[in-house]
Symmetry: D2
Subunit: 360 residues, 4 copies
Amino acid sequence: MSANTFGKIFRLTTFGESHGKAVGGVIDGCPAGLLIDLDFVQQQLNRRRPGQSGITTPRSEADEVEFLSGIFEGAATGAPIAFMIRNTDARSQDYEHFKDVYRPSHADFTWDKKYGLNDWRGGGRSSARETAARVAGGSVAQLLLSQSGIIVQAYVSQVGKVKLEGNYTSHNLDDRYNNPVRCPDAETTRNIMEHLEEIRLAGDTTGGVIDCVIRNLPAGLGEPVFDKLQAGLAKAMLSIGAAKGFEYGEGFAAASMLGSEHNDLFKGSDEKLLTPATNHAGGILGGISTGADVFFRVAFKPVATIMKDQITADKSGNPIILEGKGRHDVCVVPRAVPVVEAMAALVIADHLLRNRTSKL
Amino acid sequence: MSANTFGKIFRLTTFGESHGKAVGGVIDGCPAGLLIDLDFVQQQLNRRRPGQSGITTPRSEADEVEFLSGIFEGAATGAPIAFMIRNTDARSQDYEHFKDVYRPSHADFTWDKKYGLNDWRGGGRSSARETAARVAGGSVAQLLLSQSGIIVQAYVSQVGKVKLEGNYTSHNLDDRYNNPVRCPDAETTRNIMEHLEEIRLAGDTTGGVIDCVIRNLPAGLGEPVFDKLQAGLAKAMLSIGAAKGFEYGEGFAAASMLGSEHNDLFKGSDEKLLTPATNHAGGILGGISTGADVFFRVAFKPVATIMKDQITADKSGNPIILEGKGRHDVCVVPRAVPVVEAMAALVIADHLLRNRTSKL
Amino acid sequence: MSANTFGKIFRLTTFGESHGKAVGGVIDGCPAGLLIDLDFVQQQLNRRRPGQSGITTPRSEADEVEFLSGIFEGAATGAPIAFMIRNTDARSQDYEHFKDVYRPSHADFTWDKKYGLNDWRGGGRSSARETAARVAGGSVAQLLLSQSGIIVQAYVSQVGKVKLEGNYTSHNLDDRYNNPVRCPDAETTRNIMEHLEEIRLAGDTTGGVIDCVIRNLPAGLGEPVFDKLQAGLAKAMLSIGAAKGFEYGEGFAAASMLGSEHNDLFKGSDEKLLTPATNHAGGILGGISTGADVFFRVAFKPVATIMKDQITADKSGNPIILEGKGRHDVCVVPRAVPVVEAMAALVIADHLLRNRTSKL
Amino acid sequence: MSANTFGKIFRLTTFGESHGKAVGGVIDGCPAGLLIDLDFVQQQLNRRRPGQSGITTPRSEADEVEFLSGIFEGAATGAPIAFMIRNTDARSQDYEHFKDVYRPSHADFTWDKKYGLNDWRGGGRSSARETAARVAGGSVAQLLLSQSGIIVQAYVSQVGKVKLEGNYTSHNLDDRYNNPVRCPDAETTRNIMEHLEEIRLAGDTTGGVIDCVIRNLPAGLGEPVFDKLQAGLAKAMLSIGAAKGFEYGEGFAAASMLGSEHNDLFKGSDEKLLTPATNHAGGILGGISTGADVFFRVAFKPVATIMKDQITADKSGNPIILEGKGRHDVCVVPRAVPVVEAMAALVIADHLLRNRTSKL
């Protein structure tokens, strides 16, 4: 029972492989009347697009999105919104030497075990190229959130051993897309660029962390007991190929805190203004948004394709030396920033609509 | 659109509040023919049960489970398996003083915002008592996994500031339930017990971390692209009330690793034996199990109810001093161990069945 | 992948067998704040209850419903509403002689083929007793519909060869539950009673038809393209064990009509009043309610258990004579009336909530 | 909560409007390894295609399908299979005069009520053009059924007042696509052609009935209690725009039968051969297939667009005369035959996969 659909009410179904004809998707459940700003969708796709700078893969895809249905006179009609992005720069011949070997730490091995066959060209469906459809779909979700003033902002807070100091309240996130690292701090950005260049020269790769904040979220989103808001966000983030961890609020640090440190006490002069004075909780209590900022962090592993030789075994179990070649990112984290935003927006858009049925 | 059902094929629907008549659930999709070992179900419930030791709440619930349907001559029939656990020691009068105040860092506030009303007796549906139904349902899932030799073992690896050294390979997990902390190491257990006693005397609470390993999992479980195995586990874990973070494999540490360090190379003399030589991946590639152990960690926040006075605001926004009283755990993490096992088992059981439809 | 849950937003999960401990269910997604009129629920159950009159089975079940969760101070809280009805008059010994034979036209054969085993006591899960849980759940849905003034009224329009003349507009449906046949016309009721007595004396059974009308439905309910309102109703009705056919509006008669006969033209002096002048459509166009009455008909087959000997084969394929004995209805259709109402209400309640997310 | 996805495991999501860029769909859950016979898919589309004969609309669409993903070296990979059919002969100007009037018995009115806006060009999403995507998706389901020898055959059994005598056992269904009526009997076909020509000359339209049989179905398909096989078929058929009724087995005729007439007794010399001697049931008992042929009938209403003037009201409620013009079928039933087959195949394919999880 496969799973290429995300969400319950605002639903995105995606399709497409790295070296197939196209990647794309169908959005079902977008409320009729939403104005679809095609430029915004394309802008988010451009931010994920390969070939943008020295730190991303040189594969060059225009990633131009074509909408096929569900929009009439600029607005969503209530019918499904289908879109596609043609693949143009796939070079399957680069992958011929992978026909007989499972690339280490890639999905070739498990895909083959599961399905009994594997489209080995560029990772097929397991390629990060699949995330283009998430970004296109998620950017429509972001347009829906904008109607309620909700803002989703992700940024890079760590690449390899270089970490950004402070949390989201310490930085101006509006500038995060102005540099190829997608980091809001200029000095940290420079350090990361240097770090990445060293790693690239060594033929290696590295991982990183993306932080994300969701502002202006109304109280009441999230569905006990199994679709708590944080559960939806965790699933969304861990569904991104390279993600290895998720934490929200104080996260793993909460494990060693005392209750008296972690509790958020209330303040306020009347019921309307009643809000927690602090936000250790990360904007969610009992799985439901409090009205405070929701913030979370996502850890990413290093890119598995490296430019170094690796001693591994081929599909028959014979030891071989796998040469490092191909076109890949040194670190995927900067390009994953719009993906994190897209997935977060999909979760919130879905819960925004789900919450319409909570009360009489 | 509420969410009290977990899973797609092996599905658990739960119900019940802390101070209602009962908590319980309905399992739909359990394959016919599975022998239901009622003693095992009760044993897992006993491990979660309050009132077991000095470090848990003195609320005393027998937590005796009654099965109502779906079992004939000891085996699952294919019909839904319903069960219930009557509440017997609820003391609603203990909560009378919370009618006019939202307890800090509890779900009273958000539940009220979402639903326009709130069953304030003992946290209602947002009480950890809800997890009894997860354990009962999850233990049936564990019985299904046992048929395939799959073993799920969780244990406490951190309480407050005391951490267990080493990962799951360093300890004998069979003994984890022999002490109230659910920690496989005797010395760490003693340190945790001391640490908890200090915190209890101070009227405070703390959090912790649970590690979990799933052994003997066949390769091929997990559904790209949105229901990757780790995405399902992350959602399951973050759906537990107090959970704040999830990581698998190298987790957050992977962010600062190099690709050449993190990659798991293959070894093996023939195709059957082909397996990764290391397991930085945590047993999952491309969202699909590799056949190696799956391991992950879950962080928990401190218990919100403390025995200290707290300066907060009542529902009208007036500042008040909230007295510390009631019956609560100093640390919920030991009792959450069977809950983590139950949720993990539910995820795996579901994917085991889902995977039956992957191929012709 | 079994299916004991009905609905997408307003969801009913049912459980229980004829001769198990109880039948019951869990309603998830009932909007918080709905007042739960327990007397109404019990009244609907009483209308379905066996042992009410000479034309129903003498099995005597009080069918007293116990609510276990989800209600606080008389209102739905947003948490799942669980309920159960204990079985009290099951006589499994009556079924001992069915251990070795599949009862003709019952589900014993297919259940065994599907699951590899069969709870042969009283039909197990395939017994009509299962519908008690539908009625309890559906009556909560009816309470939700009442909030919007929506009324669901089913009645018997045919039993065996006796048919009621005219459609729902020709009769006063308020009296339909005043006689054991659940037919709104006194003379037809008498004829049906006589017809049933003849059939009973002959040791035989028969089928019938139930008509249903839904009034005061707002325009806009139904979800193109697959969850059209009529598609949901058709599924709901055909999920009732003995149902063999469904038609709405002109139904099968529409097949031989001309477009110029069947079309409903608009009348009205302003946009608000714009409604179809006739209602051949049955209140639905393009799968969406028009605001006119929705009406449909459901055909039921004869009860399979007859009091005559039948020449059939046992489970080993040996010819045997199956004696007619046990406690059964001569015609199940009168008792199915509240079941049809319940299922219709579940469909409408679900679409009422689903429709809240159609527009910005 | 919109619904453009059909099925639980074998799932088809469709998109597209009559006058948009394309119609198409995404199949998720097709088992890996299935050979995709593109010629068969195109053949089924051709059978639904407009402009084929004098009795269908002259709108001329090549309906050439393009597959975008999920197929590698001729076989399904387990990844979603996306496809699209470009619209080429849409003439939106034909619909300009419908901007201010709701066409009688069309979905313009209800779509507007539901979504607050309406793509009035050619019916938008509510156009029968949407069924092209069902046929493409359903034909992939048919390929899956072929693997198990299952055959789905629909045919026209009534058009307007002309009815075909006998049921599916009386005719050779292999020839049904050899004439434009899709009727297996030559004389009835001639009568229908004459009947349709008369109606066409009168500027009118009519309805009809399609019969369908599913052969070689294994016993065991169907999911109690809500997803009974007939419930799924009923939903599938009633989701087709013009369908007004569904019956299976004896259908509405069963209502007036006696139990002793309707019961199917068993015959057989050993357990393997045990089958019902008759098939009044229509191949399903307790919602589960018996192994006998499943057969059902679907009633269709007359086409709403007629070539006669109609006195109706415009959107402001002012009376107007609506002229009859445009390109439409006199009777949609012949073109609906591959649609019925497609929807039936989708139901069966889904249940075939669902049934893989019923037993240990």
